[in-house]
């Protein structure tokens, strides 16, 4: 079985429009226009329209009246008209939709953005674009669809058209940056984001530049400026989420844990799923507790963050579900599929592991980790020829990193075809490799998988292996090993994490009976609620 996800960086997320819509990075930094005061619909105009409809009862007057539905304040007065529209055989489907919105007080947003079938398929998007080729959102979504099936050139073409139409769009600039990173050209990504005129002024793009520079190993043009902007609070807290995370990531990379922790605290004031996932990934160093209330503060989704958190809780069932949503959100990314195929493999859902690995390989056929997961699923499904062919492909890459994993999967194949000695030898070689590399967790994982495969293969040493795996788990527990051992009816408990720091704490003033939320990093293991100092002093 394969190792978990590759190193995570705070590179820009590229979600489909319906997932990005509620995310702050969709538009980037928006300066408010103060001089404009919108004029609402007048009550008198509604009176007139109601009177006119009541007199004529004509469908045209009814349609005209329903148009006031754009003002939610008027919905109460429009209820009789909405009910009449729903009953009328002459009313169009659009009128009925307006009527339903009036009665339910607004639901079209979901109809158009979330449930729309158009955005879910290349055909739908193409149809939309054939009529309105300047639809940037549809172009970016189309590019993602193309990339999800490995059509890089088509994706590139769509993105470039979108960029030409809307060169300042944060959504487009971040998508193009992510595209270059995805296709393995981070230098181009960095050059692109560095050159965009808006980058110097928009914190969401500055963050992307800093994270991209980290990947390429080149100096960031925005890092110092960003540090200064954060220090003097040039931007609102809501807009610096990713910027603080990116600068925090750079500090972490330099080993400045204390500074990184402060910056991540700032980033988590208005968290996004990207920052949350990064904070969870770096939890060992940051020691910041990411709890449910923090996850709920982020705009909808947070599939990656929640999947990673479920992984840390060893709730692989939930990881499997959340990675499905995550994969839908970022259809071109192989990361969710990698994690999904791994957890399904660990749980023994080999068909689903295979499906996930194959879906991931569509987006990134060069990903040897996904290939490893595919080979493992095939072996356990007793499709040995295909598994061996896949292993040969991985071997041909000559990547030393993959060697122990390939050995282990080959061991699984051999054990399952009945060549117990050879299979065991290969597994032992894999374990030796892990030990040599001091990959302690992977050693535990590998041993647990070995024990389970041996049991499936009815190996004579399976009981002995199971005991070894259990002993190893007690010494070095790992999440995957726990799941595998549980599938073998063993009790495998992961110890709770060490207490961590909170980013907020509630303070209760007993005298005034008030609860105030305090922002700031607490000490490790600090309680969620404390009694205020005044109260304690008075005691």
């Amino acid at each position: 079985m394969n190792r978990l996800l590759p190193t995570r960086r705070l590179i820009p997320k590229w979600r489909k429009a319906r997932f990005s819509l509620n995310q702050p990075e969709m538009l980037g930094l928006v300066q408010s226009v103060k001089s404009f005061v919108p004029i609402p619909t007048s009550d008198e105009a509604v009176d007139i329209a109601i009177w006119t409809w009541e007199q004529s009862k004509s469908i045209g007057d009814l349609a005209d009246l329903l148009a006031f539905g754009m003002d939610t304040r008027q919905h109460v007065r429009l209820v009789p008209a909405a009910e009449a529209a729903l009953k009328s055989p002459q009313a169009t489907s659009a009128m009925k939709l307006v009527a339903q919105e009036i009665l339910k007080s607004g639901a079209s947003e979901a109809f158009l953005w979330r449930d729309s079938e158009v955005a879910k398929s290349v055909r739908g998007l193409r149809a939309l674009l054939s009529n309105t080729p300047n639809d940037v959102i549809a172009l970016v979504d189309l590019a993602q669809h193309h990339l999800a099936v490995g059509k890089q050139r088509a994706a590139h073409r769509a993105l470039m058209v979108a960029h030409q139409i809307s060169p300042d769009s944060v959504h487009v600039l971040r998508a193009v940056t992510r595209y270059w990173i995805h296709v393995g050209m981070p230098d181009k990504a960095h050059a692109f984001i560095k050159k965009a005129p808006r980058t110097a002024a928009d914190p969401w793009l500055m963050a992307s530049e800093i994270a991209t520079a980290q990947i390429t190993g080149s100096p960031s043009t925005q890092l110092r400026k960003a540090q200064r902007a954060l220090a003097i609070k040039s931007f609102k807290s809501r807009d610096v989420t990713e910027l603080a995370g990116a600068v925090g990531g750079a500090e972490l990379y330099q080993g400045n844990f204390k500074e990184a922790r402060k910056l991540f605290r700032l980033a988590l004031e208005y968290p996004t799923d990207n920052v949350l996932a990064q904070a969870i990934t770096n939890q060992d160093h940051l020691q910041i507790e990411i709890n449910d209330s923090l996850l709920q503060k982020a705009p909808n989704g947070v599939f990656e963050g929640r999947a990673l958190q479920a992984l840390l809780r060893t709730d692989f069932e939930e990881v499997g579900q959340l990675t499905e949503f995550w994969a839908e959100e970022e259809a071109f990314s192989s990361r969710p599929r990698l994690l999904q195929s791994f957890v399904h493999g660990a749980m023994g859902n080999y068909e689903r592991a295979l499906e996930a690995a194959e879906a991931g390989l569509l987006t990134d056929p060069k990903d040897t980790s996904l290939r490893g997961n595919r080979a493992y699923a095939l072996a356990l499904m007793k499709r040995f020829d295909e598994a061996e062919a896949e292993l040969k492909l991985i071997d041909a890459q000559g990547d030393e990193e993959n060697r122990p994993l390939t050995l282990a999967t080959m061991g699984a194949v051999k054990l399952l075809v009945g060549e117990h000695e050879l299979g065991s030898a290969l597994y032992e070689d894999a374990l030796t490799e892990f030990a040599r590399k001091k990959a302690e967790l992977q050693y535990s994982d590998c041993l647990a998988f070995y024990a389970r495969t041996a049991m499936n293969a009815e190996s004579p040493i399976s009981s002995e292996l199971l005991q070894r795996a259990v002993d190893r788990f007690l010494k070095v527990p790992s999440h995957a090993a726990a799941v595998v051992l549980r599938s073998l009816n063993q009790e495998a408990k992961i110890k709770d994490n060490e207490p961590m720091r909170r980013v907020t704490q509630w303070e209760w003033n007993k005298t005034a009976n008030t609860l105030t939320q305090k922002h700031g990093l607490t000490k490790r293991g600090a309680p969620a609620v404390v009694i205020s100092n005044n109260e304690r002093n008075s005691k």
Binding site: A17, N22, L27, V30, Q31, S32, V33, S35, V37, P38, I39, P40, T41, A45, D47, I48, W51, T52, Q55, S56, S58, I59, G60, D61, A63, D64, L66, A67, F68, G69, M70, D71, Q90, A91, T92, S93, A94, M95, L97, V98, E101, S108, E109, F111, L112, W113, S116, V118, A127, L128, N131, T132, N134, D135, V136, I137, S166, S169, H171, V172
Partner: protein, 373 residues
């Protein structure tokens, strides 16, 4: 009584009538204005055919030829106590008269047949109490009462209405005017001339002039928010007059296409299809419209393709779909017929020709009762 200017122009009058008691502005039924127009019935405040938003409307009969008229009576004397209100009212009324004069020769704009003072004098007071009156052509009501959304109904009438409104916009554009309040209640049906339906655009009270002399020229927008162009909802103003004003008329024509076929205002549909944080108004989007343009465009496209264009007759769907897409383009700088846009104009004249052609085609299909393959 003094009257002047006959022929094609509007009659200007100054009619002073001796009465025992000054009648109120809403109690003038039976009064003859300038010996020519008899006020028959008061309109409900809400039912002011082509009358606009101020003044009291009456149906009237032209005693010369028996034709029906619409008379708008403005009581500015009642506002004497508030000078700023009085000034505003006078300015609006005078502007409407000026605007109607400017549109006098336009066949597709409701014509003013007379205007002037109607004054009442009582024996005890030599100072007469006067009302400003506008006498306008009267049609058979607005298009709302006539429209039928059932898909099996002929599209010819709707297309002809659109063609007529497009022609009205073109006529106004040639006079360097923009209507800026095109909506179903301002599109008036008139008796047919025997060849085709006769439709005119009414209520010039919100019109603007390129010279910038009207009361609304300085404002960003006046008029019904349900039919406003999308950029106007967000307070966006294009610097160039054509992109600001003629493009707005173009949008409202597109919105009328949506209304006539789908029964829905595109402005309403787009607004309600946006998440609350992107809607205009309190608690919504506060940034510049240009920042939101991509999201607005996607929303508009989805609304058009899913809710509006499917209601067009199948045989005309592609062409009429293109027209409505051009007319409701969220970027006012790009709005209009594409080749005309490249040449620097909005191209309503070209759209009018296309609508006329579509209408004729629809009529042909109807007559032959043959659907194209």
């Amino acid at each position: 009584m003094a009257t002047g200017q006959g022929g094609n122009g509007a009659v200007e009058f100054n009619d002073i009538q001796q009465v025992a008691e000054i009648p109120k502005a809403d109690a003038l039924v039976g009064v003859n204005i300038a010996g020519r127009w008899r006020l028959d019935e008061k309109f409900h405040e809400g039912k002011q055919e082509s009358g606009g938003n101020f003044g009291i409307g009456y149906t009237a009969t032209d005693l010369d030829d028996g034709s029906r008229r619409f008379v708008k009576v403005v009581d500015f004397r009642s506002r004497m106590s508030d000078l700023s209100q009085l000034r505003q009212l006078l300015e609006l009324a005078e502007f409407e008269v000026v605007m109607h004069k400017a549109c006098m020769r336009m066949s597709k704009v409701v014509r003013m047949v007379g205007h002037g003072q109607l004054a009442f004098q009582i024996p005890t007071n030599p100072d007469p109490y006067n009302y400003l009156c506008l006498v306008l052509e009267r049609g058979d009501g607005d298009i709302k009462s006539h429209v039928d959304f059932r898909p099996d109904r002929s599209p010819y009438w709707k297309l002809w209405v659109l063609r007529e409104v497009a022609l009205a916009i073109v006529q106004m554009e040639r006079a360097q005017l923009a209507h800026n309040d095109i909506k179903p209640s301002n599109v008036i049906r008139f008796p047919s001339n025997g060849v085709s339906h006769n439709i005119k655009l009414g209520d010039l009270g919100r019109a603007v002039t390129k010279s910038g002399t009207g009361p609304f020229d300085g404002y960003g927008w006046a008029g019904d928010p349900r039919h406003k162009p999308l950029e106007v909802l967000y307070g966006w103003e294009e610097p160039e007059w054509q992109n600001r004003r003629t493009a707005a008329d173009a949008y409202m024509l597109g919105n009328l296409v949506s209304f006539l076929f789908s029964g829905a205002s595109l402005t309403e549909r787009v607004t309600n299809s946006l998440p609350p944080e992107y809607r205009h108004g309190a608690g919504g989007f506060v940034g510049p419209y240009r920042e939101l343009l991509d999201i607005i465009r996607y929303t508009r496209n989805s609304v058009l393709e899913n809710q509006v264009i499917p209601t067009f007759p199948a045989e005309l769907r592609q062409e009429l779909g293109d027209i409505v897409r051009w007319l409701t383009e969220p970027d006012p700088k790009l709005r209009g017929e594409p080749s005309a846009r490249r040449a620097g104009s909005v191209g309503i004249d070209r759209i009018q020709s296309r609508l006329e052609r579509l209408a004729q085609r629809a009529q042909l299909y109807e007559r032959l009762s043959v659907k194209p393959k």
